[in-house]
């Protein structure tokens, strides 16, 4: 065995692993250490959970934290569930061949490179009380002043945030579902049809189980992303309640250096939530797939 054959794999992996270990694992580890109060530059090397208890139970932060956690969980669950359901419905409606196919695939893909911050501002321009839809409603005589239009953005329930995520993630999930549907073809459904299965039965017992693994992985990605993303809630959210990533960045930019540990702790809590969910996904998908 030559030197190259013996060390081929580690050598090929080394540059990428260096980036991931130093920048990702290192960043995460250092953040964790700092959240535990480890900060040798100001002479603090004793580890403690003070920052965590301050966030979870302290008078100053706890109320905002729990409201923020609730908001973030609600926004992510709603965005994930709705984008999966809508994407499946759309993909089933537009799949197949014909001139519409290229267009529909293009429509799904066209949206992928639009940054989330642009999507958020776009939703603001369309759905705010003096936005495009409100003006359209006023032109049609449905409403007469901006305040007649329902408050859909910068609202306390995160509706604007959810709508912006749907605008972005429905096409993302849709691209994936469409690709899986195309690779499956219609054979299984044809067989089920010949055996007398109705539309709903074909979907429930044939199509859905076949696309479920892809839906689970796409849904996990959407949840993990939306739970930790900053841009959309920063543009479309309110001061209170505040999504956790927005709150974390506020802590971090706070001039008070003590808030740094709290910012790190809050970011670790955000990471813990997404990682718990991803771990759950890995347990769920184990049977059947490798």
């Amino acid at each position: 065995m030559t030197f190259w054959e013996r060390y081929r794999v580690p050598l090929l992996l080394a540059p990428t692993m260096a980036v991931i270990l130093v920048l990702f694992v290192g960043g995460l580890g250092y953040g964790l250490a700092q959240s535990l109060g480890w900060n040798p530059r100001i002479g603090s090397t004793d580890l403690s959970l003070d920052a965590y208890t301050a966030i979870i139970a302290g008078e100053q932060y706890a109320p905002a934290f729990w409201r923020g956690l609730l908001l973030s969980l609600w926004v992510s669950f709603a965005s994930t569930a709705l984008s999966v359901v809508i994407a499946v419905a759309l993909a089933l409606a537009i799949r197949g061949t014909g001139p519409g196919k290229r267009l529909s695939v293009f429509l799904f893909q066209f949206n992928l490179p639009i940054p989330h911050i642009v999507a958020a501002i776009g939703i603001l321009f369309v759905l705010s009380q003096s936005g495009l839809l409100s003006r359209g409603a006023a032109q049609l005589g449905i409403i007469s002043t901006p305040s007649d239009f329902p408050l859909l953005v910068r609202d306390r329930f995160g509706l604007g945030i959810i709508l912006a995520y749907l605008w972005k993630e429905v096409p993302f999930v849709g691209v994936i579902v469409l690709a899986v549907l195309q690779s499956l073809g219609s054979t299984y459904e044809d067989v089920a049809r010949n055996l007398g299965a109705g539309r709903w039965q074909r979907f429930r017992y044939v199509t859905l189980p076949l696309i479920a693994p892809a839906l689970l992985s796409a849904g996990t990605l959407v949840f993990a992303f939306t739970f930790g993303a900053y841009e959309v809630p920063a543009v479309l959210g309110v001061r209170y309640p505040q999504a956790l990533p927005v709150m974390a960045l506020d802590f971090f930019n706070n001039a008070d250096l003590n808030a740094r540990a709290e910012a790190m702790a809050l970011s670790m809590i955000i990471a813990a939530v997404t990682m718990t969910l991803v771990g759950l996904y890995m347990v769920l998908r184990r049977p059947g797939t490798t």
């Binding site: 081929r8 692993m17 920048l23 960043g27 250092y30 989330h116 911050i117 691209v175 960045l249």
Partner: protein
Amino acid sequence: MSGHGLNLRRYLVIVLMAGVLFLPFAAFALNAFAFRWFYPQFIPADFSLQAWERIFASNSRLGEALLNSTLIAVGVTLVSVIIGLPAARALGLYNFRGKRLVEFLVLAPTMVPPIVVSFGLSVNFIRWRLAGTLLGVGLVHLVPVMPYVVLTLAGVFANYNVDYEAQARSLGASPWRVLWHITLPAIFPGVVVAGLFAFLISWSQYVLTFLIGQGKIITMPVLLFSAAGGVDNANIAALALMFVGPALLILLVTSRYLGSGAAGGLARI
């Protein structure tokens, strides 16, 4: 005939979808060219180029932002593909001990929000004098980019036949010639898709740039985000169009490579 009904429904869905996807762009276009757009006008009564004159004025930071965004995104794309290719080859072609751990580590950055990683890194980047530099910002962009590049390319190598390389070598080709004439042409479409992902992820990155760039590195999303805090809708809309324009252009140029393979790459992650 039921076939016609089905087709009609399909086209209705497609038209509706196009409408929903298009609405924000209509709003950007109207806002960017509107002049005193009073409620409840649906189409502005007057149009002007004032917002565009402002963002292209000499005291505007648009040029600087476009240049920084381009330099960072191009650099990140090149570096991520160059270091990602060998890793993807190892993951796509070989079985080895610890492969699952390596795959997990490569995937991990997609599961942890960028904000978490950048908090921890920012302190060290200040110490290493990388904070507030283009190099520092480009380096942290590698974190969200690498998983997509490596997994896309690993998918390509999983369907790649190494025998061609052996044949070329046995005919006397040097390693560089094998790489240039055999390997690269075979994996080229995958490299384009991986590069596209890398460019787009870097191009749209706000939080990492803001935290590591410390306000000294102005990129397009940083400029747009600071404008979005204001009330000048025409200015915000013009900047948003300047920001998405290059991203859409790049997607258009590379779209013929984005077959179901790209969607498969996305679905894997």
